[in-house]
């Protein structure tokens, strides 16, 4: 294992996790055997291909399907098969939003919302009805029949309805999967609103890595019913052993940046990525101080062993080569670079870049893991 991989595991071993799952279940041929701790609030993506057990795990969490083992959420025990505890779904504080919305056809939009609101009336009101209606812009839809909504509208209502149950834990089951690209783009901002305005721990199930990159700072990768990797999304994007996370040909890394300057003269937006500067073509709608997530494709990153001069590429990020993977059957080598802040290593990773170079170049430069290196970034794309 590489250092970056080990760091990925570290973040999961916090003493008192918010969500502590250790479940086993057999569904025909499929074996679910998941041990998972989710430490912090905020969004954690549950990522995996179809058949990896995401939905099975979700159904066990919601209490729909039986499993042995234990589930603890906050201070509540939802499942403890040894003690004979299996709290029924309606008594778990779990807000589950389904892929297919599942609005009640015999009720209109307002009545669907009231259904959840009435049943949560005696609970601590974390989520305010008016705030939810405003956040998802539901006012014009309230009197509509729930069968006459578009897919995206139905998902907005379902999201609001789920929030109004005052859940301790939100589970979103591929909320965008049933929508076409346009509706997806329409709904995504609402999901971001959800994350920003309502601070409820959220598990976001998805097989779409772009959604994960955009919405979830932390992620868990499931394969064949078991957790194969867990960590921050940026860390897992840098892992060479998880091709399904970062993509094979389109492999890219995620970086967090802050806008430090909008340079009108050169038409550039200057970003600080862990203390190092990165310039990109001016993005007019950004303002200084904005947090942005950047994507850098591996094939857009070249490597240099000394700080280069006399080069048209202006974005040069200093770092350490932490992993170099070469396959004799391929002309290419995959490199992972841990960015540093230029000064003495602080121990904390500021982000990772991936680079795809030829094996011939790697040999000529005598690249070896652990050495200091400069990443030359040609193009950067933004999330959102």
């Amino acid at each position: 294992m590489t250092e970056s991989a080990d760091k990925g595991r570290d973040t999961s071993s916090v003493a008192q996790a918010f969500l502590d799952i250790s479940v086993e279940a057999q569904r025909g041929e499929f074996q679910l055997s998941t041990k998972l701790q989710v430490a912090e609030a905020g969004v954690t993506a549950l990522f995996g291909a179809s058949g990896s057990g995401k939905t099975s795990l979700l159904r066990v969490l919601a209490g729909f399907d039986r499993a042995t083992g234990s589930i603890r959420c906050g201070n509540e025990i939802w499942l403890d098969s040894e003690a004979g505890i299996n709290v029924p779904t309606h008594q778990r504080g779990v807000g589950l939003m389904f892929q297919d919305a599942r609005l009640f056809a015999h009720l209109n939009v307002a009545e669907n919302l009231q259904f959840a609101r009435r049943r949560a009336a005696k609970l601590p009101q974390i989520v305010d009805y008016d705030a939810v209606v405003a956040a998802f812009e539901l006012e014009p839809l309230l009197a509509r029949r729930s069968t006459e909504l578009s897919g995206g509208e139905a998902q907005r209502v379902a999201l609001a309805r789920t929030l109004l149950t005052q859940p301790q834990l939100l589970l979103l089951d591929e909320p965008l999967a049933a929508l076409d690209d346009q509706r997806k783009a329409d709904l995504l901002p609402y999901l971001e609103t959800l994350v920003r305005e309502f601070s409820i721990p959220l598990l976001y199930v998805s097989h779409d890595i772009d959604e994960v990159a955009r919405l979830a700072p932390n992620m868990v990768v499931l394969e064949a019913g078991a957790v194969v990797a867990q960590g921050t999304t940026a860390e897992l994007f840098a892992r060479l052993d998880l091709p399904e996370v970062s993509g094979r040909l389109e492999a890219h890394a995620l970086l967090q940046g802050v806008v430090v300057e909008q340079d009108q003269h050169w038409q550039l937006t200057r970003l600080s990525v862990g203390g190092q500067e990165l310039s990109v073509p001016l993005r007019a709608r950004l303002v200084v101080g904005n947090q942005v997530q950047l994507r850098v494709r591996a094939r857009d990153v070249a490597l240099a062993i000394a700080k280069p001069a006399g080069l048209s590429i202006r974005n040069v990020l200093a770092g350490r080569l932490v992993e170099l993977q070469q396959n004799v059957e391929s002309p290419f080598a995959e490199a992972v670079i841990e960015l540093s802040d230029g000064s003495v290593a602080t121990g904390a990773a500021l982000g990772y870049l991936r680079s795809r170079i030829t094996r011939a170049a790697a040999a000529e430069l005598q690249l070896s893991e652990g050495q200091t290196i400069y990443a030359l970034v040609k193009t950067v794309s933004f999330d959102a």
Binding site: P88, T89, H90, F98, D100, F104, H106, R119, T162, T165
Partner: protein, 223 residues
């Protein structure tokens, strides 16, 4: 002239039977539609039995079961002072058994058609199982309820064999329309038999028309 007695009695019996079956049949149909128990096929078969058994067989067993010599019959006598056999109450009990599949099967199909989607959604919205049944599944099964009520009512109106076995032919107590027709024919009063028969025929046709307009498919099947 024919009296209105048998008609009112028939309506009263059908109303009582339908009401009792609504109360008993709804939870039974809900259980059948949602259970994973291995007992389900057994209960389904028992529920469908009245569809295939000759009414005389059913009537015979009911007569034995409800008679004052049986435990149930004796208990009824001590509580109410009357025998269950050859009484209106006995007819209601017998009709409830006889018409059971006509209530349970349409409801079961309707509940199955609602499916697990809305049920699971309701559970995550903090609705208990009973709450889910009454506030989600039942409203979504309104068509099934209409079919079940109409079929149960009509089937009770049309029963003959069981009534004859359990209730006999006591005017004002157990002499329903079908029994009255039988007696008119026995006593060669064909005119009166015609009047009642055509009434029953038109009523049954109207009922089936209502059901078929409501549902594309007849919701009664044998197991």
């Amino acid at each position: 002239m024919i009296g209105l007695g048998p008609i009112w009695l028939t309506i009263a019996l059908a109303c009582a039977t339908t009401l009792v079956l609504l109360v008993l049949g709804t939870p039974l149909a809900w259980w059948l539609a949602t259970t994973r128990s291995r007992l389900r096929p057994v209960v389904e078969a028992l529920t469908a039995l009245p569809l295939v058994l000759p009414p005389t067989v059913l009537g015979f067993y009911m007569l034995v079961l409800l008679g004052p010599a049986s435990a149930l019959g004796a208990f009824w006598v001590t509580v109410t002072g009357e025998a269950l056999t050859f009484s209106f109450s006995g007819l209601v009990v017998a009709s409830v058994i006889y018409s059971l599949p006509f209530m349970v099967q349409p409801l079961q199909s309707a509940f199955e058609q609602v499916g697990s989607g809305p049920v699971e959604a309701a559970a995550t919205l903090r609705a208990s199982r009973w709450d889910t049944l009454t506030s989600v599944v039942m409203p979504l099964s309104a068509g099934g309820f209409l079919t079940a009520i109409v079929l149960t009512f009509a089937h009770t109106v049309g029963e003959f064999g069981v009534v004859l076995m359990v209730g006999g032919n006591i005017p004002g107590e157990t002499r329903v329309v079908s029994i009255a027709i039988y007696e008119y024919v026995e006593t060669l009063r064909y005119g009166d038999a015609h009047r009642l028969s055509i009434g029953l025929l038109l009523f049954s046709f109207a009922v089936l028309l209502l059901v078929y307009r409501n549902n594309r498919r007849m919701a009664v099947r044998v197991a």
